[in-house]
């Protein structure tokens, strides 16, 4: 199933860009109830050209989030269900011999879409995983010695079920690093849940979503977000945070320079979405747990039970300069 936008009006003025973001947020908010923070994070991730890993139990709306993102942003969307017998070719595509023309023709795989939902990514073998991860990193794939560029923009939203242990291949740290953010959705609150139970079918609602932006607009928004001001004191703050993760006894491996870059990039988008005049420490803190959570390796003796607790500890220990 492929959905594309037809005619796209690219907003150039700041006002129009803000308007587009606001509308996208509102639309997403009507589908995924009570999860404004996660919506905001997911949008920040996409605006920062990052890939998103959603890690949570089944039935919490992971797929719905990915689908409605694609619809709202007017992107072509494919879903790949990762299974243990998934082959790289199932992702990338294959060259098929066309007898009528007497030549090979490349049949593009699902990876050639603007937004891909890689469902239950940890169920596939490392071989299949790495095919996707390579595409995420390079924004291109090589098939039969030929390099093919992926569409622009290109996003991967992967989901993973942390509860599953048997028959899974958890992503190694080096590959987790490819995802800009890892977010958990969590249970909805009581009021939202009530509305979900009583309300209309979400799938039908998704189908009715009208695209608010298109690929071109999204690229424009990405460029604007990347221009958000990052001031000297903010860099001081990021450096202090990174330094703390490297020096703390609670953490075995701290943030890498790439991790620091990721923090700033995500915070830029967040600041853009929040309509801040520059990147504020608040923006850093808002995205910190989702950007740093899967990049920090806690020490064996740590007293913090989850990555988000550990991240909160970091934020509570480093003064804002």
């Amino acid at each position: 199933m492929q959905r594309g936008s037809t005619v796209e009006q690219i907003p150039s003025s700041m006002g129009a860009q803000r308007d587009a973001i606001e509308r996208a947020r509102r639309t997403l908010g009507t589908i995924i109830l009570g999860k404004d923070e996660q919506i905001s994070l997911a949008l920040s991730c996409l605006l920062a050209r990052g890939h998103l890993l959603i890690e949570d139990l089944p039935g919490l709306g992971k797929t719905m989030l990915a689908q409605s993102l694609a619809r709202t942003l007017g992107l072509t969307y494919r879903r790949i269900q990762f299974t243990s017998d998934l082959l790289p070719a199932d992702i990338i595509g294959v060259s098929v011999f066309r007898q009528d023309r007497g030549e090979f023709e490349f049949q593009p795989g699902p990876v050639f879409s603007q937004l891909i939902l890689a469902d239950e990514v940890n169920r596939a073998t490392p071989k299949a995983q790495s095919a996707l991860l390579e595409a995420m990193e390079e924004y291109q794939v090589s098939v039969d010695g030929e390099t093919r560029a992926l569409p622009k923009p290109f996003f991967v939203v992967a989901t993973q079920n942390p509860g599953d242990q048997i028959g899974t291949f958890p992503l190694p740290e080096s590959q987790l690093d490819r995802f800009l953010m890892r977010v958990a959705i969590g249970y909805p609150n009581e009021a939202s849940e009530r509305e979900l139970i009583a309300g209309a079918d979400r799938r039908a609602m998704i189908d009715e979503i009208e695209a608010i932006t298109g690929p071109e607009t999204l690229l424009e928004l990405q460029r604007s977000a990347a221009r958000q001001t990052v001031s000297e004191p903010l860099i001081d703050y990021v450096q202090a945070l990174v330094r703390f993760t490297r020096e703390s006894a609670e953490i075995e491996t701290g943030l890498s320079p790439r991790g620091a870059q990721a923090l700033v990039a995500a915070a830029r988008s967040r600041s853009f979405i929040e309509n801040h005049s520059g990147v504020f420490p608040d923006d850093i803190q808002a995205i910190f747990a989702s950007v740093a959570g899967h990049r920090l390796k806690p020490a064996g003796s740590t007293q913090f039970r989850s990555p988000s607790e550990l991240c909160q500890h970091v934020l509570d220990s480093v003064a804002i300069p």
């Binding site: 001001t229 001031s231 004191p233 801040h276 504020f280 420490p281 608040d282 803190q285 003064a319």
Partner: protein
């Protein structure tokens, strides 16, 4: 080959030079009254010259000019003071060389030298005097010098006020250390250094000779001569005679002290009667050897002090610094009931052919009187009943000053009466001598102590009568009894006030004077008078057994370490990462104003939300400051954003 140094200025020192000049001015101020006029003038012109050079980016004077000026000034100091050692010439030399150093101040290093000089000048002013106001002066001048220092190394954006605040903070940090040092560092009985003090200034108050005819106007100095604190009740005003020095020889015009050739030990001649008074005297420096005591002292605590043959207390060394000592005195006493013939002659000597009319009068009165006592009464009655006046502005007298006073002018103050009375006694063969000292004193109701001023200086007579010994006779009391009962101030001011249309000094002024005096007394008692003895008893009070220098030094070291630990602990607790920019400083001021502590890692927005709940400030104000701060500090640096923040914070205040 020597490369000539560039002499031009580029205005780089323009921002810090005024501060350096201010530091120099402040450090010179206490020296100005002692400096020769030309030195102050030289400093002012050098400072103005140097500032103009910097302002107009001119050339500094050449090496030859500077060298010539230095030589001229050095010789000038030598000529003015005829020495280059001692406090006076030393500070003069320092002042003039600092002025000249200005003319070659090109770099920061030269400015450092100037500031070192100003610190030294400030300290050297303490060698002269340490008054109560010296302390505020020290604080202010050190603060200005510190500011000047910080100005030199200040970064571009730093304001003078910031430097001033930093300087103040540094001084505050140093203060506990200085106090601990002052309390615990072992005091020495003698000062570390011994500096020749200017004696050329002359002495106020008592002098060691007395020539009544020379003085035609006695200046009324309100300076404090000494203060007295009595243990119990105060003696009657008529008993408050403070002995200073005793003058025994008269040359027809001038009285002065002289030693009798042989004398019995002074204390053996004394016999004390009646009530004793014990008290403590804090004597201002006199540069003289005599020691003030209430008539008649029996015991005194001042070291190396002895009673002379005329019952005059003298210390072996002159009193160059303020001293405090305890005494026990008896207003009633008998002294030297037996006076050998030889001494009678010594105490009745008058030059031949001087004051003939006085001699005639004495013979006439003595012949009419039945006894010496009657004669004394007759003379006193003469002063009382005839036209003799007490005045502080007596006419000048001729060569036979006693004659002129007794028969012609008939106006005078204590010295005139004491001198005339004494001569009349001697002419009649009665041994007599003059005691110069102080009489009376003013009670400070706040401190309960007695203040004796230079204007309370007095002279009276002692006559020797067989069986009675030396007896005090105060002829001034016969003329102006109120002088003795109320003190000079009232006696002299009474008429003046009415004729000039003034009333007596207002009560407020009086109260202020007394309060100031009490402060001075406390300052003398506790700060300047913190002697080895007082330190020892203070240490004992603190609970130290048998205080010794070693123990005190040890305590001092421990106290310093404890202080440093305390201060660094305090700073650690209060530690916030340094705020490099002004915006953060402004924001922190706002945080302080809210009265809510910002937690570590708390974002501005989170803090604003909490402050809106927890502080008294209106939420909109908090929000507007927060937004202005975030925009200014983290935004794209729009011009005026700092001003917006300032305005937002000002609105709160």
């Amino acid at each position: 080959m020597m490369r000539a140094q560039p002499r031009g200025t580029d205005g780089a020192l323009l921002s810090s030079l005024p501060w350096t000049l201010a530091a120099l001015v402040v450090s010179l101020v206490p020296h100005v009254p002692y400096l020769a006029f030309w030195i102050t003038g030289a400093f002012v012109s050098c400072a103005a010259w140097r500032y103009t050079i910097e302002k107009q980016r001119r050339m500094l004077p050449s090496r030859w000019i500077r060298g010539g000026l230095a030589l001229v000034c050095f010789l000038g100091v030598l000529a003015t003071y005829s020495s280059i050692s001692g406090v006076g010439p030393g500070s003069a030399l320092l002042a003039i060389m600092a002025s000249l150093k200005l003319l070659e101040t090109r770099k920061r290093r030269d400015q450092f030298v100037l500031l070192f000089i100003s610190i030294f000048l400030v300290m050297s002013s303490l060698l002269r005097e340490q008054y109560l106001w010296s302390l505020p002066y020290l604080v202010v001048s050190t603060l200005i010098i510190m500011t000047a220092w910080l100005r030199m190394s200040a970064s571009e954006g730093e304001s003078a006020k910031q430097s001033f605040n930093t300087g103040g903070r540094l001084l505050l940090y140093a203060a506990p250390l200085a106090i601990a040092m002052w309390i615990f560092f072992p005091r020495l009985a003698t000062p570390f250094w011994s500096v020749p003090i200017d004696t050329s200034r002359g002495m106020t108050g008592l002098s060691d000779t007395m020539s009544p005819g020379d003085i035609s106007s006695l200046s009324q100095s309100n300076e404090v001569a000494f203060r007295v604190r009595f243990d119990g009740e105060l003696p009657q005003p008529k008993d408050r005679y403070w002995r200073g020095l005793v003058m025994t020889s008269f040359n027809g015009r001038t009285w002065q002290a002289s030693e009798p050739r042989i004398a019995a030990p002074a204390r053996e001649q004394l016999e004390f009667i009646g009530q004793a008074y014990s008290y403590e005297v804090t004597l201002e420096p006199t540069q003289q050897q005599w020691v003030i005591a209430m008539d008649m002292p029996m015991e005194w605590s001042l070291e190396r002090t002895f009673m002379g043959p005329h019952q005059q207390l003298s210390r072996v060394t002159p009193i160059e610094q303020r001293v405090a000592y305890r005494l026990v005195s008896y207003p009633s006493y008998r002294v030297q009931a037996e006076l050998p013939r030889l001494f009678r002659r010594f105490y009745t000597e008058v030059p031949e052919n001087s004051n003939p009319r006085t001699l005639a009068l004495a013979r006439e009165l003595r012949a009419a009187a039945e006894s010496d006592l009657d004669y004394i009464d007759a003379v006193l009655a003469m002063f009382r009943n005839e036209d003799y006046y007490y005045t502080l502005q007596p006419p000048a007298l001729g060569s036979n000053s006693v004659d002129a006073f007794l028969f012609d002018t008939r106006r005078g103050f204590c010295e005139h009466y004491a001198s005339a009375f004494s001569v009349l006694m001697r002419n009649a063969g009665i041994p007599s001598r003059i005691v110069a000292g102080y009489q009376g004193g003013e009670i400070n109701p706040l401190g309960g102590h007695l203040i004796v001023r230079q204007s309370d200086a007095h002279a009276w007579t002692e006559v020797w009568l067989p069986d009675y010994g030396w007896r005090r006779v105060d002829p001034t009391a016969a003329v102006a009894p109120e002088r003795i009962d109320y003190g000079t101030r009232d006696a002299a001011l009474d008429g003046v006030g009415v004729s000039w249309g003034f009333s007596a000094p207002s009560q407020l002024l009086q109260d202020l004077t007394m309060a100031w005096d009490m402060l001075n007394m406390k300052w003398n008692d506790w700060i300047l008078g913190y002697s080895p003895d007082k330190q020892k008893s203070f240490m004992e009070w603190l609970g130290m057994d048998e205080p010794s220098r070693r123990k005190m030094l040890l305590t001092f070291v421990i106290a310093v370490i404890a202080l440093i630990l305390l201060i660094s602990g305090f700073m650690m607790l209060r530690y916030r990462p340094p705020n490099k920019d002004r915006l953060a400083v402004l924001y922190n001021r706002f945080v302080k104003k809210t009265g809510v502590d910002r937690r570590i890692g708390e974002t501005e927005q989170a803090f604003a939300a909490r402050a809106a709940r927890e502080s008294q400030l209106p939420a909109e104000a908090i929000e507007s400051v927060t937004i202005a701060y975030l925009n200014a500090r983290y935004g794209p640096g729009v011009p005026g954003s700092e001003e917006t923040l300032r305005q937002a914070i000002l609105k709160i205040a």
